[in-house]
């Protein structure tokens, strides 16, 4: 579980996150949604520790970011997995090497153990037949699956996904969303997904945080978001005229 307590983040006198207070639950797919420029990515980067917050605190399973020294921060960061928007796979490595990479870099286990652990997660994302392929030889959906396998190979407590289905067709996007949700349940991970895709929101949004202009405007789940009478949430969820008519 990650608790966010009253955090504030600004860049060059421009406040990007303002008084954000929320909880991201363990074993659930937590979604951060909102329009472009609402502060989603900055919040995700603060949670990842890539940005320091100006004030407030982030509590990772009872451990406050405020009280951590650099070694403890490194320790927490090694319990995190991240799926980047563009997958961020290493171009010169094949699928197996990409998934094995965190094990090579951060563990002292022997080669056979590394391979079998990497293979376990590659099989979990259904890419057993593509282990020798380079990222350039994979489709967008396959690249995302490799990125997911790499993110969970270290058995992280926290999984972060930055728009995991951007650039994918709706059918593949749903497959990726469902895979993330299954993994979240299977390994009991605190998963936080940054998205503005309404399909994802409806499909896997167990805990949704809606941001607008740096403020948390609303929080609920995928059933509540469709019925919400909050003006900003309504404008976001029913953004097209067609959807508005269908709702009415």
């Amino acid at each position: 579980m990650i608790e966010v307590k009253n955090i504030l983040k600004s860049f060059e006198n421009s406040d990007v996150l303002k008084e954000i207070e929320t909880i991201f639950y363990r074993g659930k797919t937590n979604l951060i949604i909102g329009q472009s420029g609402s502060g989603k990515t900055v919040l995700l980067k603060c949670l990842l520790g890539l940005y320091e917050v100006d004030s407030g605190e982030i509590i990772y399973d009872g451990v406050s970011s405020k009280k951590m020294n650099s070694d403890e921060k490194l320790d927490i960061s090694r319990q995190m997995g991240m799926v980047f928007q563009g997958s961020a796979l290493f171009d010169s490595m094949n699928v197996l090497e990409n998934v094995r990479f965190p094990l090579d870099m951060l563990t002292k286990i022997d080669e056979n153990e590394k391979n079998s652990r990497a293979m376990k997660f590659i099989e979990r994302v259904n890419l057993k037949d593509a282990i020798n392929k380079l990222p350039s030889e994979l489709s967008g959906g396959m690249q995302k699956r490799v990125a997911i396998a790499r993110a969970i190979v270290m058995n992280p407590k926290y999984l972060f996904c930055d728009e995991p289905n951007s650039g994918l067709d709706p059918k593949t996007a749903i497959v990726i969303d469902q895979l993330i949700q299954e993994i979240t349940k299977e390994y009991n991970i605190t998963t936080i997904i940054n998205s503005h895709d309404m399909n994802s929101v409806i499909e896997i949004g167990e805990n949704i945080v809606f941001l607008k202009e740096g403020y948390k405007i609303w929080q609920g789940n995928n059933k509540e978001v469709l019925k919400s009478r909050n003006k900003e949430v309504e404008d976001f969820v029913y953004s097209s005229e067609l959807l508005k008519k269908l709702r009415n």
């Binding site: 490194l74 980047f84 563009g86 961020a88 290493f90 990479f101 870099m105 951060l106 972060f160």
Partner: protein
Amino acid sequence: MNFLHDIGKYFLMIKISFSKSCKREILYKQIFKEINDLVLDSIQIVSILSFFIGGVVSIQMALSLENPLLSKTLIGYATRESVILEFAPTFISIIMAGKVGSYITSSIGTMRVTEQIDALEVMGINSLNYLVFPKIIAMLLYPFVITISMFLGIVGGLLAISLTGVPSEAYIQGIQMDFESYHVTYSYIKTLVFSFVLATVPSFHGYYMKGGALDVGKASTQSFYWTSIIIIILNYIITQLLLA
């Protein structure tokens, strides 16, 4: 102010790249990969350039020394001095700023654009140590490339001068004349300093670049511009300190 800020950032980058080291076996693998990409892959272009420029230098020397009162051995002597003192260490380093520098900036810059560097950081890996440190170590073999350049430059001069009718014995006598081993030492000191610049300045431009694919190209151009300028300025400073 931006300029001073960037200088500070450059030195911090070097400090971080030497700290929080990755696992040894990973670094060894990276260093051997970089030796291949940065040093061994440069030998061919350096050899061709050195051979022909050495030839051109000797022909130009022969042309300038047409006076019958001047000994033909001076052609070999002047070619040797030009190649060892300036052409091999400095001129080749500027060419390397284009070849090796662009490669370093574009490869690191592409990793930045495609979030691969962020991925390393999120995993808790010191990305500067993983990406920049092996390049610095690999470039310690750069004097080997310059040695080849010196040798081929002088050999190129010999072959070119033979074709112009000047006796090759005079050229060979010239390259042995008044040999100062300190000049070679000076040349290798310069080369080592340039090798550090060639590894770090392009890495800096790639690592801290912002933007998209187009900006990778811009960063490579900037990297070549600054690496060349720094090499030329350091060349002057080192020469002033060691030879003046």
